[in-house]
C-alpha cells in the first residue's frame, strides 16, 4: 500500500505551504506548557500514553508506511523492550535512563536477527512470521518463570529521574515529571525518524516500496534496507515498551494484550501510512477518544473494528493520504493555469 507520492517535492511554484516546522515548534511549546495550564494528573497520564503510542506508531509507520512491510512484530518488540527494561533495572542494577536505551538497542538487535528469515519468502510470510514472533515472546513471558516471574510479572520498577543541579532530583514516579521525560524521549525518537525518512535513505525506502524490482535494478539492495528499517522500527518499539512499564511500575504478560496491536494498527491506518505527522497526531487523537467516548469496552472495539473496515474499504491511505491527494490536486490546478 504505497501512499508516498511519486513526485519529488522540490520547487513547486510556491504553492506548497512551508508550515511544517513552525507547526512542530508550536505544538512542542504547547505540549511543554500544557501541564502548567491544565495541571490535572488525569490529562497528564492520558498524554503520556499518547506519547508512548506515538513512538510505537512512528515505528510501524516507518516499516509499513514507508517501507511497505506490514509488521505485526511491533508489539512483540514493545513487550521485549518492556521486559529488558525491567530485568536491566531490577536484576542488572543498570540505571533507568541507560536501560531505556539498552532496551531499544536490544529490541532492534532482535529485529535484525528476525528480519532475515521473515523476509525470505514473501510479504505474506513476513506478516505471519512477525506475528508469530509476537506470540512467541508472549509465550516466553508467561512461561519462562525463572526470568520473567511468569504471569505475576515484575513489580516495583524504578522510573527515570531528572537531576537538575541546584534544584534537586525530580523522580519520574511523579506523573508531572514523567510527562516531560516521555515528551523528551518521544520528541527525540520521532524527530530522528523524521530526519531519517526525509534523508536519501528515506527516499530509497520509498523507492523500494513503490517498485522493488525497479529499485533493485538501480543497484539498491532492497533486503538490506528493509531489514535495517525493521531494526530501526524495533528500536522505537523497544523504547516505547520500556517507557511504558517504567511509567506503570510493573511489567507482566498483559503487555502483549491484543489491545496494543489493535490500537497501533488503527492509529497508523487512520492517520495514513506514509504520512509522518498525521500518524503522530492520530496517536494523540486515538488515546483521547476512549476518554471522551465512555461506553462498554466491547462496543468501543466493535466501533474501532468498523473504523478499520471502513478505512480499508474507502480510505486506504488514511487522513494523511487524503490531504496528500488534495495537495497534489492543488498543484495540478496551479500548473494548468
Amino acid at each position: 500500500m504505497s501512499v508516498s507520492t511519486p513526485f519529488s517535492t522540490r520547487s513547486t511554484g510556491g504553492v506548497q505551504p512551508r508550515l511544517t516546522w513552525p507547526l512542530i515548534v508550536l505544538s512542542l511549546v504547547g505540549l511543554i506548557l500544557l501541564p502548567s495550564i491544565w495541571p490535572s494528573s488525569y490529562v497528564v497520564n492520558v498524554l503520556i500514553l499518547a506519547f508512548i503510542f506515538a513512538i510505537l506508531a512512528t515505528g510501524l509507520n516507518l516499516i509499513f508506511g514507508y517501507t511497505g512491510l506490514l509488521s505485526f512484530g511491533q508489539v512483540g518488540f514493545f513487550g521485549l523492550g518492556a521486559y529488558l527494561y525491567a530485568l536491566l533495572t531490577m536484576d542488572g542494577g543498570v540505571s533507568p535512563w541507560l536501560s531505556i536505551l539498552l532496551a531499544g538497542i536490544g529490541s532492534g538487535f532482535v529485529a535484525l536477527l528476525l528480519g532475515y528469515p521473515a523476509l525470505r519468502v514473501s510479504r505474506a510470510s513476513f506478516v505471519i512470521v512477525t506475528l508469530s514472533f509476537t506470540l512467541l515472546t508472549a509465550l516466553l513471558a508467561r512461561n519462562w518463570v525463572e526470568i520473567t516471574r511468569g504471569p505475576m510479572g515484575i513489580p516495583k520498577l524504578s522510573a527515570p529521574s531528572i537531576d537538575l543541579p541546584g534544584l534537586g532530583t525530580f523522580s519520574g514516579h511523579d506523573p508531572h515529571v514523567f510527562y516531560y521525560i516521555a515528551l523528551a524521549i518521544a520528541a527525540a525518537s520521532i524527530g530522528a525518524i523524521y530526519l531519517l525518512v526525509n534523508s536519501p535513505i528515506g527516499r530509497v525506502l520509498r523507492a523500494i516500496n513503490l517498485d522493488e524490482p525497479l529499485a533493485a535494478s538501480q543497484g539498491i539492495s532492497p533486503k538490506k534496507y528493509q531489514i535495517a528499517a525493521f531494526a530501526v522500527a524495533g528500536v522505537l518499539s523497544g523504547i516505547a515498551g520500556s517507557l511504558h512499564v517504567s511509567h506503570l511500575g510493573i511489567v507482566d504478560p498483559s503487555i502483549f494484550d491484543p489491545y496494543y496491536s489493535e490500537m497501533l494498527l488503527i492509529i497508523v491506518i487512520v492517520g495514513g501510512p506514509g504520512s509522518f505527522w498525521m500518524v503522530v497526531v492520530s496517536s494523540l487523537v486515538f488515546m483521547a477518544i476512549p476518554e471522551l467516548l465512555r461506553m462498554a469496552p466491547e462496543l468501543r472495539m466493535v466501533l474501532f473494528g468498523m473504523v478499520l473496515v471502513l478505512a480499508a474499504m474507502l480510505f486506504p491511505t488514511g487522513v494523511g493520504g487524503y490531504f496528500e491527494q488534495r495537495k497534489l490536486a492543488m498543484w495540478r490546478r496551479s500548473l494548468r493555469s
Binding site: 500500500m1 509499513f64 511497505g68 506490514l70 528469515p117 521473515a118 525470505r120 519468502v121 514473501s122 510479504r123 505474506a124 510470510s125 506478516v127 505471519i128 512470521v129 506475528l131 508469530s132 506470540l135 512467541l136 509465550l139 508467561r142 512461561n143 491484543p258 489493535e262 494498527l265 491506518i269 462498554a296 466491547e298 462496543l299 472495539m301 466493535v302 474501532f304 473494528g305 468498523m306 473504523v307 478499520l308 473496515v309 471502513l310 478505512a311 480499508a312 474499504m313 486506504p316
Partner: protein, 289 residues
C-alpha cells in the same frame, strides 16, 4: 509405547481440527490472495451459534452442527459480497487490515451480546469414551474428527469432480487463463470464500462441546494455523492437510513428554525452521505475493 500411541491418536484428532481451519484459509488465500485474519473468529462464531442452539434452543447436536455451518457460511458469503468482492489483485495489506477489522467486530460483538465468559456445551456424547483396541477415544472428539474427515473428503470430491470445483482450482492456478476460458471470478471467489469460512464454522461447531466456548477463542488457534499453512506452503490444500496433522501429532507428543508451553511454541519454531530450509513450504509452489 502405549502412552506414545495414545498421544499420536490425540494428535491426529487435534491435527484434523487444524486441517479444517487451515484448508479453508488456504482455499481463500488461493483464490483471493487474501490472508483472512478473521478466519479464527468465524471458527468462534460457529462454536457460539452451536452453543446457543444446543443450550438455549434445545436443538440436537447434529442438526445444530448443520445449522451452525450453514449460518457461518452465509455470513462468510455476505462478507464476500459486501466487502471482499471489491478487492483487486495485489492489495494484500488492505485485505489483512480489512479482515482484522471484521475479526474485531465479530469478537467484540459476540462478547457484547453474549458476555465474555466461557460456556460449556453438553451433548449426549459428553463424558462418553469409546474403547478402540485398548485405547481411549473420547466420543465427542472422535465425532469431531469424523465430521472433519467427511467435510475434507467432500471438499476434495467437489474440487476434483465438479465443474465449479475445477473452476476454483483453475482460478487459483492462473487467474488470467481462467478468465479467458470464461470462468466468472466473482462467482468462483464467492463460493470459495463461503466454503472456506463454513469449514471454519464447522470446526468451531464440532469442537464446541470439547473446548469451552468464549469470544476470544478464535485468535490463538488462527495464529497456529497461520504457522501451519506457512509450513505446508501457502495456498496448497494438500500441504495444509499434511502440515496440520504433522503439527497436531508433534504438539501432542511434545506436550505429553515435556511442557504445555513448549507444546504451544512447536508450530512457530517449526515454521521458522521450514522458512529457512524450504522457503516455499513443504508443498509450496513458491508463489510470491
Amino acid at each position: 509405547m502405549e502412552f506414545f500411541i495414545q498421544l499420536v491418536i490425540n494428535g491426529l484428532m487435534l491435527g484434523m481440527v487444524y486441517a479444517l481451519i487451515a484448508i479453508g484459509l488456504s482455499l481463500i488465500f488461493g483464490v483471493l490472495e487474501i490472508v483472512n485474519f478473521a478466519h479464527g473468529h468465524f471458527y468462534m462464531l460457529g462454536a457460539t451459534v452451536l452453543a446457543a442452539l444446543v443450550t438455549s434452543a434445545g436443538i440436537g447436536f447434529f442438526p445444530g452442527l448443520v445449522i451452525a455451518t450453514v449460518a457461518v457460511g452465509v455470513v462468510g458469503y455476505l462478507v464476500y459480497v459486501v466487502l471482499l468482492r471489491h478487492f483487486r489483485e495485489g492489495e494484500f495489506d488492505r485485505g489483512i487490515i480489512l479482515t482484522i477489522g471484521i475479526g474485531m467486530v465479530l469478537q467484540n460483538g459476540v462478547a457484547y451480546l453474549f458476555g465474555s465468559s466461557s460456556r460449556m456445551v453438553d451433548t449426549s456424547l459428553s463424558f462418553v469414551s469409546w474403547d478402540v483396541a485398548g485405547f481411549f477415544v473420547d466420543a465427542q472428539r472422535a465425532v469431531a474428527v469424523l465430521v472433519g474427515a467427511v467435510a475434507i473428503a467432500a471438499l476434495y470430491a467437489v474440487l476434483t469432480f465438479t465443474r465449479i470445483g475445477k473452476a476454483m482450482r483453475a482460478f487459483a492456478q492462473n487467474r488470467e487463463a481462467a478468465f479467458i476460458v470464461g470462468i466468472r471470478p466473482a462467482v468462483i471467489a464467492g463460493i470459495a470464500v463461503a466454503i472456506g469460512i463454513a469449514l471454519a464454522g464447522l470446526a468451531g461447531a464440532a469442537l464446541a462441546p470439547v473446548f469451552a466456548v468464549h469470544p476470544a477463542m478464535g485468535a490463538p488457534i488462527l495464529f497456529k494455523v497461520f504457522a501451519i499453512i506457512i509450513i505446508g506452503g501457502l495456498g496448497s490444500l494438500p500441504g495444509a492437510l499434511v502440515a496440520s496433522l504433522l503439527i497436531g501429532v508433534t504438539e501432542s507428543v511434545v506436550g505429553g513428554y515435556s511442557s504445555v508451553a513448549l507444546q504451544d511454541a512447536v508450530a512457530f519454531m517449526l515454521m521458522i525452521v521450514v522458512l529457512l530450509a524450504f522457503p516455499a513450504g513443504l508443498f509450496g509452489k513458491g508463489i510470491r505475493v
